[in-house]
């Protein structure tokens, strides 16, 4: 089983409570099973008794994880509980036990095809080509990350192969990626093509000083907890006049409403709404507060459950200031 490679995580997490305060799902369902300890206990049970893999309640719990990475980041030993859950999902899929809603979503994601348009030597993968003059754009859907986190490794590879073909055919040597989940997925996948996050690229451009504007910055799970917490997004926003204030009571929790699980809202809408409500509750006055997130997933999800909230993506925040 894929889980077998993560025995150290099972052994460390199954009786450990030291990061439970950071599990975004556990903090809204309050269920013991929705914490790293709870999931590790389930997977330990499966380790000892393989037929427990068929338990529908166990499977549902494993697909309810938001995979935020906040727990791993917090742990002094950084045990990779997210890696364990992803391995368990692969085992579930390979045993033919994926839930119906997961399978349905997989069919849609597997159909992604990619096209390249425009002229330039740099390729951009995102929604705001106006910020990247002289760049080509590649579009067509998720490049395989979503399928990977759902446990469908082979399907993920097939979609990525199509994405790679489009990128290679563009003859560009730099790929700028906006969505953090895609950046996390793509950054180590190419030989001879440099993958950069959009904030790094935009930071290298010219800018004019702008008047100060306060905003809450909602950290990206991928950028903060998976990709070394780069300073570029915050530096970029500061350059464009945004004064970022701490959201909530601390800088450890994830408020990115399931971003780590990429298609969390599609899979668990009721639960995702609860994650959003936690953000609304902590925000105070939604009509006056401004939120900036690097992730269009986070923006779309937060505005889906309360259209009153004012959220911009990082690129939108920059674009708006460029226009002023």
């Amino acid at each position: 089983m894929h889980m077998d490679k993560h025995q150290d995580v099972i052994a460390a997490c199954r009786f450990c409570f030291m990061c439970r305060h950071l599990d975004p799902v556990g903090n809204v369902t309050f269920q013991e099973s929705d914490t790293p300890r709870g999931r590790a206990l389930i997977l330990d049970t499966i380790r000892m008794k393989n037929e427990s893999l068929r338990n529908r309640d166990f499977i549902a719990t494993i697909y309810r994880s938001a995979l935020s990475g906040a727990n791993r980041y917090h742990c002094v030993s950084h045990y990779d509980e997210v890696g364990l859950v992803l391995a368990a999902r692969k085992d579930i899929v390979e045993a033919g036990l994926a839930p119906e809603n997961v399978k349905a979503l997989t069919e849609t994601l597997s159909r992604a095809t990619f096209t390249v348009k425009g002229k330039g030597t740099t390729l951009y993968y995102g929604d705001h080509l106006e910020l990247y003059p002289g760049c080509k754009i590649v579009s067509g859907g998720d490049p395989g990350k979503a399928l990977e986190v759902l446990g469908f490794g082979d399907d993920s590879q097939k979609v990525f192969d199509r994405f790679r073909s489009a990128v290679v055919a563009s003859k560009c040597t730099t790929l700028i990626v906006a969505e953090p989940s895609a950046y996390d997925f793509l950054k180590d996948k190419f030989d001879g093509i440099e993958v950069v996050h959009c904030s790094e690229h935009l930071l290298s451009g010219k800018w004019k000083a702008k008047p100060a504007r306060k905003a809450f910055y909602l950290e990206s799970d991928f950028l903060k907890n998976y990709d070394g917490n780069p300073a570029a997004p915050r530096e970029l926003l500061a350059r464009y006049g945004y004064t970022l204030t701490l959201f909530g009571t601390n800088n450890e929790e994830s408020y990115s409403v399931g971003e780590g699980a990429v298609v969390f809202d599609e899979l668990n809408p009721g639960l995702c709404e609860k994650l959003c409500r936690r953000v609304y509750d902590l925000a105070g006055n939604l009509k006056t507060a401004l939120f900036i997130t690097p992730s269009r997933y986070v923006k779309a999800t937060l505005t889906k459950y309360n259209p009153q909230i004012r959220v911009m993506t990082l690129e939108e925040a920059v674009a708006q200031r460029k226009e002023q």
């Binding site: 450990c16 338990n55 549902a60 002094v76 009571t249």
Partner: protein, 481 residues
């Protein structure tokens, strides 16, 4: 335990759903598993060896004292056990559903209701995670000064139920010193409040009755606690003494001279060699003593200087502020894997408390009894949570390779506990200082209290005639197996 194929199961589930809503009554295997194991070694080893753990019949998540009251009324009607559950991180088995029944998970009751800056108090529901509580209080510019190793996992109610403590207890007190007043739902479902202030001459103190009652006398649903200003300065200093005895003399003198450290920790020679080396990287022989002061900067400097002067009266090595600060910075690291003891090891924290006159006798009595009777067990300890009159001993036994058979392993484990705790009691100790009694130590309660235990039993019978509240814990009657 109600068999799920018995239609009574559905009757009870329907009633619980009326009380808290369908979404807040869980009967799935995943959540039952999570509520079958706490931080007690026995269920851990039971799970590890593939044994079946007693699960709850239902896990319910109330959102108010009224819902708690409704649940207790249902439990009384059907005479079903109710086991309050906070963070589940108790080490004494106090939250285990050993007879099935209803686990009442309190974590939905997680709101900070009021912060009173004039009185420096805060009121919160007791299901709040203590780290979340501290963050909320800090955002308002104050601190609970409650920094237990379990801050990330335990709830306010869990600390109240077990008389818990934090690393700064020497100045700011244990939870029983922090609490002003409580809201409690009694086993019959009545919602009561204890007096609004903790100092009075208006009869016995009901607040203190419920503190440490481990869910056997009711469910604490709300608490008002003291809060504190963020100190201007907090400084630490560490010394190494040749022997634990010399360090103990220094530590006790700091306390009896009525200095007000926020923390003192003294590690015996084996723990200094093992854990201080592993976690802090200090590789030295002797007994490591660290202390800290906080408050206005001038006072901190003065008190720190006085405490250092006391330590310098004995043969010592001055490790300076840096090695003291390192301890503070890594104070929780001891409890994360792989630094914490873990299976397949057998391990237990034999924590007790005694006066300065007795505490070293308690230490040696426990250590000798473990070494003489269980040569396979290591014994280490440190002294934390210091008072004007004595201190707490956080002793631990560790067996690297306990018996494979879970029954044999647990029997051996219990034997060590029984002998070590009895040795402590004989020298003036008690069975526990801040983890509680739970399932683990209930059998020794009558010995500890003597005839006074009947007072506790009578209180239990009066408040909980049907014995629904956490039966079989704290030495109170079981439901029968």
């Amino acid at each position: 335990m109600i068999p799920p194929n018995n239609y009574l199961y559905e009757m009870v589930r329907s009633e619980l759903s009326w009380a808290v809503g369908d979404d807040h009554v869980q009967t799935g295997d995943a959540d039952k598993l999570g509520h079958s194991i706490d931080y007690y070694w026995v269920p851990e080893v039971w799970h590890d060896r593939g044994q079946k753990l007693p699960p709850p019949d239902f896990v319910v998540y109330p959102a108010s004292a009224k819902e708690v009251s409704e649940i207790l009324k249902i439990a009384n009607t059907h005479k079903i056990p109710v086991i309050p559950w906070g963070g589940g991180s108790g080490s004494q088995g106090g939250a285990l559903p050993i007879y099935g029944g209803i686990v009442m998970d309190m974590k939905r009751m997680n709101k900070v209701l009021n912060i009173d800056p004039a009185s420096m108090t805060a009121t919160a529901e007791t299901g709040i995670n203590t780290q979340h509580l501290e963050w909320a209080i800090e955002k308002a510019g104050f601190s609970t000064m409650h920094f237990p190793a379990s801050i990330a996992c335990a709830t306010l109610g869990g600390f109240i139920a077990n008389r818990g403590t934090g690393v700064l207890s020497t100045k700011y007190g244990k939870i029983e010193d922090m609490v002003m007043t409580l809201e409690v739902v009694t086993p019959s479902g009545e919602i009561i409040n204890t007096l609004p202030v903790p100092r009075h001459a208006s009869g016995p103190d009901l607040t203190q009755l419920f503190l440490g009652s481990e869910g056997t006398l009711g469910v604490v649903t709300k608490a008002t606690i003291k809060i504190h200003p963020i100190p201007e300065s907090r400084k630490f200093h560490a010394f190494l003494f040749k022997t634990m005895h010399e360090a103990m003399i220094a530590g006790s003198k700091i306390m009896t001279s009525r200095l007000r450290p926020c923390v003192i920790r003294l590690y015996d020679e084996p723990e200094t060699a093992k854990l201080i080396k592993r976690v802090l990287g200090i590789d030295k022989k002797g007994a490591y003593l660290v202390f800290g002061f906080d408050g206005p900067a001038q006072i901190v400097d003065l008190e720190l200087e006085q405490a250092c002067a006391i330590c310098r009266e004995k043969d010592h090595e001055d490790l300076g502020t840096e090695m003291g600060q390192a301890w503070w910075d890594h104070r929780y690291k001891f409890f994360y894997p792989p630094y914490m003891f873990h299976l397949p090891q057998a391990f237990g924290t034999l924590d007790t408390v005694a006066t300065f006159a007795n505490i070293e006798k308690v230490y040696w009595a426990m250590k000798n009894v473990v070494h003489e009777n269980f040569p396979q067990a290591a014994f280490i300890g440190h002294f934390s949570h210091w008072y004007e009159w004595g201190c707490m001993l956080y002793a631990r036994f560790i067996i690297e390779a306990p018996p494979k058979d879970p029954h044999e392993a647990v029997a051996l484990y219990n034997k060590i506990w029984d002998m070590a705790i009895r040795a402590a009691i004989k020298e003036g100790g008690v069975i526990n200082e801040h983890h509680g009694v739970g399932l683990k130590l209930g059998r020794i309660m009558k010995e500890l209290y003597g005839p006074a235990f009947k007072v506790l039993e009578d209180i239990k019978k009066t408040l909980d005639p049907n014995n629904i509240m956490n039966p079989g814990k704290m030495g109170f009657p079981s439901k029968g197996i």
